[in-house]
Symmetry: C2
Subunit: 201 residues, 2 copies
Amino acid sequence: MSLRHALLALLEAGAMTGYELAKQFDQSVAYVWHAQHSQIYTELRKLEAEGLVVAETLARGDKALATKRAYTLTEDGEHELRRWVGDVEELPAVRDSAYVKATYLEYGSYQEARAQFRAHRAHYEALRDRYEMHVDQLARRETALLRRRLAGAPAASHDAIVAYKVHAYRGLISRARTEIEWANRGLELIDRLSDDGVLPK
Amino acid sequence: MSLRHALLALLEAGAMTGYELAKQFDQSVAYVWHAQHSQIYTELRKLEAEGLVVAETLARGDKALATKRAYTLTEDGEHELRRWVGDVEELPAVRDSAYVKATYLEYGSYQEARAQFRAHRAHYEALRDRYEMHVDQLARRETALLRRRLAGAPAASHDAIVAYKVHAYRGLISRARTEIEWANRGLELIDRLSDDGVLPK
DNA sequence: AGCTCCATGTAAGTCGTTACATGATTCA
DNA sequence: TGAATCATGTAACGACTTACATGGAGCT
C-alpha cells in the first residue's frame, strides 16, 4: 500500500500528470519503491475515485487535439498523507530469494555458488553507487523535485526535509554495503570449502 | 518464484506432507521466505501437476477414516532444484515501505518520526535475536530438518551444508544490525532537529 | 517523412493475503 | 466431552507484471 502514499507525497509538492509522476518515480522514489507506469495510472484513477486527488484535464500542444490529466491533492488526500506518516505499520514478512538460494547452495557446484555471490555483489555495488550519487544531489539540493518541494515549504523546515531524505538514502547505502560484505564473506567461504575439498566438483 | 524452490529443497531432505512442510516453513524457511499454509497447499498441487513432485495418499490414524498426502521429489523436481541453484536471477526491484515513509517524515511531528524509528529498531532487534538463536542451533546441528538433511548426504559434505546455511543466517543478522543502527541514527537526527527547533511541534 | 518523446490506458495472468470451511485424531 | 493438533483445502480480493494498444506533439 505504499504506492498510493508515495503518489500522494509527490503530489504534495505540486500538481503533476501521471506521465510526470511516472518519471519522478524512475528518478527518485524508484530507489525505495519501484512501480510500472501502468500501475501508476490505475492507482491514480483509484485515488481519484476515492476523492484523495482531483484531476484537471488540460490541453496539450497548440492545436489541443490531445489532452493530459494533472492531478492535485485534495484535503482528504492531505489528511491521508499525514495519517500515513504517523501510522506505525507492521513490517512485511521477509521474502528474499537470494537468501533462500544461499541456504541451498550445496545443491550446486562451487562455480555456481561463486557466480551467485559475485552477481549479488555486483548488484549492490551498482545500487550503492546510484544511492551515493542521489544522496549527493539531495544534499546539494539539486534535484528538481526537491527544489519544488522546498519552494512550497517554510524556509525553517528546509533543513529537516533534506535531512530526512538524506538519512533514508544513507540507510540504503549502509544496507548495500552490508550486502556487499556478505557476498565477499560468501566468496571467502567458498575458497575455504573448495581448498578443503569438502564438496565434489 | 522462490516458494516452489524452497518446497523442492525441503523435499530433497525426504518426503513430507503439506502440513509438515508448512510447519517447517514456520520454523526455518520463514526466516527468509514467509508463506501461508493455504499457499503451500496450492503450490504443492501445482508442482504435482507439473510433475516435479509426486504425492502418495496415506492413511491417518488407526481407523483410517482420514488421509494425508506425502510428497516426494521426482527426477524432474531434482533437476529443477539444481537448475535453480545454478541460475543467477535478477534481483527484484526495491520495495521498502519503511524507507518510503522515512523519506517523507517531515509531514509528521517529531513524536511520530521517533515512533517510526523506534518501531523499526524493535522489529529488527526481535528479528536479530531470532536469527541468532537459529544460527546457534544450526551450528550445533540441532534442528530436526538439518539432521534429516545431513543423514541423507555424504559425510564429507556435511560441513559445507552447515556452512552455507550459517553464512546465510549470519548475513541476515548483519542486515538486522544495519537496520538497528540506521534507526538509532534516525533517532539522533530527530534529537538534533528538535533541539534546533527546525520544524513546528 | 520519420523519429523520439509525450501521454494514457487495457487485459491477462501470477503471486500472495485474508477469511472461510471442514472434519479426523489424540489425549486428558 | 472438550480442547489442541493434525490435515486439507476454497473463494474473493489486492498488488503487481508483462504485453498490448493507441495516437498526438515536436523536431529535423
